[in-house]
């Protein structure tokens, strides 16, 4: 290393002598005692080739530390320690002061966050306001000024308000975040609301009917159960459709909690159509079933448990109605209890034996019996589900049937349990979420549609009613969506199902007359916009985010800008204020406050008091720290603990106040609604199975493969996809089992065409035994790229169906889709 040592002063050091001097002084003051007992501390090194080129694996300078967060992925939010040099991020580190030992608390983000500097300054970022000049979807735009853009928007806003009223306004924003534009809309009369989300629409409603919520704490809201960390007090854990190795993959996420349990000797079972990364190296944990058949498996598990008398009779008697004839509500028909469905004494009169379920779900009956004993023979079993099982046409019933297993075994409300719902993220509050925001106020428009209904509402809004489309807050819509804001809505063009159909609706300018997009990088959605506004990167503004973890720690990121705003990009709060001025509402919109002042108020009023140990820093202290990690150990959050401790004092929001294995509300829905999918929309008042459209029961010679998706490791809703390094590291492939690949002559790496009547994509094959025979799948939300009617970018939703679920009217967007695959 003599050369490098001789060259210890870098090019940058010559330029920035002061920085080197400072660092050298720091090193000396610190004593530089080496962890590994090696040479004295080096400041930095520089390596050059013989021709004088700088080899880049130099040791970069420390630079200035600025904390920020990576907060796109929805269920985890990670702090990143940015080393800023010459006014921009040079490299990213993680929470280096945490406990590095396995099991310890240290916030270690995933590969996406660690690549973020290539996102922040991507050559593809939006730079200026733009106006559409070609037809919708063509992607032809011209640069305009901010004044012109805001003038156009203000004019269209007023026109839409005068012509159609506030119900014609709509905001499509990624996730459930609140945005300044919603605050402004609320000031001009409101906008058509949505319930649910593409992630969890089905489980959200299913949980409400089966388990209800706590009216005070709202626990089980959103289909969220206990934190995954609760598993530490269980004897075993069962995970239905949990891809946490891909979706909650950071060092404080669910995947870490599961790994800790495994190493503590707690046996785990993962039920999924693919061997996910959470079980990498541990394939015994995998119990494969076909997509959309979770309820069949859960019913068969229940059959074994009940047949052997291993259900928790005491728990059921005290906390639930509808298990058997003894606890049925008055007036319910005979033989209509949950037990009647399971044992075959009611409904379809089929006993849900393991032999019945085996050919449906593809899992051998003895494995089903094994799972039943795995769950029932443990004192405490942690039962949870990801969002995959419920993202189906029959997803509400998958969600309920899984949760029913926790009910009948009494694995609810005590340490080590989860009521069969999704793993709740641990976070501090921030305006009801984890992201920074201004308060959006109250929406005067009370009508809501399901989030999947937005294309329907653009296409034929006035035909949508309460009894056919589950319109809430009114009998029907009076007007379709006419003015829409797509705010960071990569999801609009990505996680919505049947995108070719959706595109035809957006292309028709007579339907939604005016669409504004605000984003940072051109997304699949933006070509359909009439005006595009360039936003600041999160990392370019004061960006307050609560960390979200699997339940072992609380933290908060007081993010400050890592660089100056670039080009003509503007903070959305600021341009919304300018738009408010054009509408005569600036003072009402800002209340005289800057973004920073709102951040302080929201933090001090919402987040700081929500810290469970009362030790969160003040706003000013937090800004100084950049990142606060609660030093106190975090205890798991146990769903329904208040109810189980005292069911009389803390009833659920269900009509009976108890868990409802028989729901009269569902019986009423069955009897009064009209269903879009006719006989294929099955509604029963008990957790049960029915075959989804385009599921195992519909496999045919033309489209013989079940199609499914999971969350990509390297992007979310196509965000970060511009980062070449991430694309190289995790290549977009269609997983196909060797049994399906061989007769098609498909080998690893072949280019495939995957298609059905809705569309066609081109994608590379990954031939792998990690996916069940008869099932193919890919990470969802890869950026759609149309060439001659074929999606060569291979977005899964070019293929997925719009068969929405019977009750929550949520689209599958991950299943309920049949395809064929062949070599291109």
């Amino acid at each position: 290393m003599s050369n490098a040592q001789g060259n210890a002063i870098s090019r940058r050091s010559f330029v920035k002598n002061t920085a080197v001097a400072t660092l050298a002084a720091t090193a000396a003051a610190g004593g530089a005692s080496s962890l590994f007992g090696c040479a004295p501390k080096q400041v930095e090194e520089q390596q050059t080739t013989a021709t004088g080129q700088v080899v880049a694996n130099e040791i970069p300078e420390e630079g200035k530390i600025v904390w920020q967060s990576c907060c796109h992925c929805g269920f985890t939010a990670c702090p990143i320690k940015c080393h800023v040099i010459d006014g921009t991020v040079r490299w990213i580190d993680n929470d280096t002061d945490g406990d590095p030992e396995f099991g310890g608390v240290a916030f270690r983000p995933c590969l996406k966050a660690r690549s973020i500097r290539k996102w922040i300054n991507s050559p593809e970022r939006l730079k200026y306001p733009m106006k559409r000049v070609g037809k919708r979807g063509s992607g032809e735009f011209e640069r305009i000024s901010w004044d012109e853009a805001l003038d156009i928007i203000a004019e269209k806003w007023q026109y839409t308000l005068d012509t159609y009223g506030p119900e014609a306004f709509y905001v499509c924003a990624t996730g459930t975040r609140n945005y300044p534009i919603q605050r402004l809309m609320n000031l001009t009369g409101g906008y058509l609301g949505t319930y649910g989300s593409e992630s969890n629409g089905q489980i959200n409603q299913a949980a409400t009917y089966l388990l209800g919520m706590d009216p005070v704490t709202f626990d089980c809201g959103g289909g969220l159960g206990s934190t995954t960390s609760a598993i530490k007090d269980a004897d075993c854990g069962v995970f239905f459709g949990c891809g946490s190795g891909e979706s909650r993959m950071c060092g404080m996420g669910e995947v870490y909690e599961a790994a800790k349990a495994r190493e503590a000797g707690i046996p785990l079972a993962f039920i999924d159509y693919r061997l996910g990364e959470g079980s990498s190296g541990n394939p015994d944990e995998w119990f494969p079933i076909y997509p959309g058949t979770d309820a069949a498996l859960a019913s068969a598990i229940a059959y074994v448990i009940i047949s052997e008398g291993k259900h928790d009779k005491e728990f059921l008697g005290k906390y639930a109605v509808g298990f058997d004839a003894d606890t049925m509500p008055e007036g319910a028909p005979a033989n209509s209890s949950y037990m009647d469905y399971i044992m075959g004494t009611g409904y379809d009169m089929i006993p849900k034996t393991p032999q019945w379920a085996a050919p449906i779900c593809g899992l051998p009956s003895e494995r089903i019996e094994y799972l039943a004993h795995f769950i029932a023979d443990a004192d405490t079993c942690y039962i949870t589900q990801g969002y995959g099982p419920q993202r189906h046409h029959n997803g509400e019933w998958s969600a309920m049937a899984i949760a029913a297993l926790a009910v009948i075994t009494g694995n609810i409300g005590r340490p080590g349990t989860c009521p069969g719902l999704n793993g709740k993220g641990m976070q501090l509050e921030f305006d009801g979420g984890m992201w920074n925001s201004v308060p959006i106020g109250t929406n005067p428009v009370k009508k809501q549609i399901s989030i999947s209904g937005r294309f329907n509402a653009i296409d034929h809004g006035p035909e949508m009613t309460a009894l056919t489309d589950n319109v809430k807050g009114g009998d029907k819509l009076n007007v379709g969506i006419k003015l829409m804001f797509l705010y960071e809505a990569g999801s609009f063009g990505n996680s919505s199902s049947d995108l070719n159909w959706a595109a035809t609706i957006l292309e028709d300018e007579s339907k939604c007359e005016f669409i504004v997009g605000s984003d940072v990088i051109m997304s699949t959605s933006l070509p359909y916009c009439d005006i595009i506004l360039p936003d600041l990167m999160y990392q370019e503004r004061m960006n307050f985010v609560s960390t979200v973890t699997g339940g072992s720690a609380y933290g908060f990121v007081f993010g400050r800008p890592v660089q100056e705003p670039q080009f003509e990009c503007r903070l959305s709060y600021d341009w919304c204020a300018d738009l408010a001025e054009r509408l005569g509402l600036r003072d009402e919109f800002t209340e005289g406050k800057t973004w920073e002042e709102w951040m302080k108020i929201r933090y001090e009023e919402e987040s700081r008091p929500s810290a469970p140990h009362g030790n969160a820093p003040s706003f000013e202290e937090g800004l100084e720290m950049g990142f606060w990690r609660d030093p106190e150990p975090a205890e798991p959050i146990i769903a329904m603990d208040r109810f189980v401790a005292d069911p009389v004092a803390n009833p659920r929001t269900t009509p009976s106040g108890k868990i409802e294995l028989y729901s009269e509300q569902l019986a009423t829905i069955r009897d009064t609604w009209t269903f879009a999918n006719g006989d294929r929309d099955v509604v029963r008042p008990v957790p049960s199975y029915f075959p989804e459209i385009e599921g195992v029961a519909d496999v045919n010679d033309t489209y013989p493969l079940l199609f499914a998706t999971w969350k990509a490791k390297n992007q979310f809703h196509s965000r970060y996809q511009v980062i070449e390094e991430l694309q190289q590291a995790c290549q977009h492939c269609l997983w196909i089992n060797p049994i399906d690949a061989e007769p098609r002559g498909i080998q690893n790496g072949d280019e495939l065409r995957v298609f059905n009547d809705r569309g066609e994509v081109r994608i590379m094959a990954r031939v792998t035994a990690r996916i069940m025979p008869g099932v193919v799948g890919m990470p969802h939300a890869h950026r759609r790229q149309m060439e001659n009617g074929v999606d060569v970018g291979a977005n899964a939703n070019t293929l997925t169906s719009h068969h929405w679920s019977p009750i929550s009217k949520n689209c599958p967007s991950t299943g309920s889709t049949l395809v064929q695959a062949e070599k291109a």
Binding site: A4, A39, E45, A50, I59, T96, R114, A259
Partner: protein, 208 residues
């Protein structure tokens, strides 16, 4: 000299590739140069049962492999200019780019693909174990970034004492260069259920 090396736990690794991307960020490598590769090794078979269900022996595990800073390094032994060398104090194998002529002997002879030829620079590039960080008393970047804590770095004798001396599992070849690597095995490797011989690297384009 105290020889340093890596420990890698196949039971913990989820193949997330954070280590790989952290290395790229810190060393500013761009998409085409990898100092750390994550192999997806998988295989197994499926048989349909009489009741129409499936029995399987499918398995997978990952290997995150960088330079193994071998005791008998092929890259150093075959380097005609002495550009590739072992650090006197740590045994970490590193390259003096000023002395590298780009002959690619190291690229051709390393059994672990650790040195790669950088077309733009005209020299070989490889993991040096973040030597300068190690001299500063810090760990290599990849180690402290692993969300699952599947990587460790330290004096190889200490790692072997703690974790044993397995340094080869498929798809790695039988060692010929005395690698300073310790591999923690997993159920997929240890259990008789799974036939590792029928496995393969499923992501060849990701480990260029």
């Amino acid at each position: 000299m105290t020889q340093y090396g890596f420990y890698f736990d196949t039971s913990r690794c989820t193949g997330c590739k954070t280590c790989e991307l952290v290395c790229k960020d810190y060393h500013d490598l761009g998409p085409d140069i990898l100092f750390r590769r994550i192999y997806d090794y998988e295989g197994g078979s499926w048989i349909k049962t009489d009741e129409g269900a499936w029995e399987k022996t499918a398995f997978n595990y990952h290997l995150s492999i960088s330079c193994n800073h071998c005791d008998d390094p092929a890259c150093v032994n075959n380097c005609p200019t002495g550009a590739m060398q072992k650090d006197d104090e740590t045994g970490l194998v590193n390259l003096d780019p000023a002395a590298c002529t780009g002959c690619e002997m190291c690229v051709k002879t390393c059994p672990y693909l650790a040195p790669r030829f950088d077309e733009t620079m005209g020299v070989a590039r490889k993991c040096d174990g973040c030597l300068a960080r190690v001299r500063n008393g810090e760990e290599p970047m990849c180690v402290g970034s692993c969300p699952l804590r599947a990587l460790e770095f330290g004096p190889i004798e200490e790692l072997r004492e703690k974790y044993g001396d397995v340094c080869q599992v498929p798809p790695l070849l039988e060692p010929t260069t005395k690698p300073n690597l310790v591999i923690g095995t997993c159920q997929a490797i240890d259990s008789d259920t799974y036939n590792l011989d029928e496995g393969y690297v499923a992501n060849p384009l990701e480990v260029i």
